[in-house]
Point group: D2
Chain length 94, copies 4
């Protein structure tokens, strides 16, 4: 069974310097590689896609950034699923 989800992901490298732009750009690239709707904003990236693929992307982001040299990573994930209708980013906008 495929379960659709919407999410917001913010990834913070700790101890990587005051600017974290390089790491955030890399996170965005890794999300855009997937079959997601991706909407970046000032506090994270909103994602629409399959629940399994979103969780797998989060795993890949941690593994990849560590492999590329980041020592410590914090991720803040807001994840939403619902069964009354398909969750979409478009449906959550005010």
């Amino acid at each position: 069974m495929v379960m659709k989800a919407t999410a917001e992901l913010q990834v913070i490298p700790v101890g990587a310097g005051v600017s974290v732009r390089a790491e955030i750009t890399r996170v965005t690239e890794l999300l855009r590689d997937r079959d997601f709707i991706v909407e970046t904003h000032a506090s994270g990236t909103n994602i629409e896609g399959d629940l399994d693929a979103i969780l797998d992307a989060l795993r890949t982001i941690h593994v990849t950034l560590h492999a590329e040299g980041t020592v410590r990573l914090l991720s803040y994930l807001k994840l939403e699923t619902r069964t009354d209708r398909e969750p979409t980013l478009a449906g959550k906008r005010i």
Copy 2:
């Protein structure tokens, strides 16, 4: 001293029904009443303004929504300040 900040606020009424659109719209109105830069997105509202005013707005939102009938409220606030340069929403976009 005035300290500038950027923030993301997501307010969730608990027990108010599966749709929370009315409450979220009200939160956005209360933020737009202030001297903030406000950017709504699918997972919350990004805010740029004075730290004191942002915290006061969060207080007003809880007091107002309770006065208008919401029984239980959860807020998720991401708050950022920095001293090397003025924090702005524009500066945080990828």
Copy 3:
């Protein structure tokens, strides 16, 4: 490769009533079923375990609670990994 992680998970059913105790208890049960160190507290559950297993548990929680009748679910996950030493809950306490 096994990557260890620490996490905090808070799951909120939306529209399930003002009390969400039954759902939160169920989430805790599903986490305790796993090979994790689990520490519940007033704002969520802290978890120490393998990254893959934590993400799989999050998936199972959403699928299970929906199957048991919850219509809309929000999860807030804080996830941490590091390569300089093994991340543990014990090492994060003040």
Copy 4:
């Protein structure tokens, strides 16, 4: 009118090194200076107290840590209020 609240606060200094223990300890001290119930755990600090005092403490933490040398600060606040009964940390435990 005094409104009681419960909260969880996690403060992350960005660019302060891989270890952030000194800053986290300082945050805990600043919270213990107040008339709060304070419960530290591996992913933050849970707080019970007056809404206004909690928000004022958050302001003081940002101002104080910047004055003591931290360049960039991210705070993650979960804030809860309810009108059906007094919110307490004890009442939120599973």
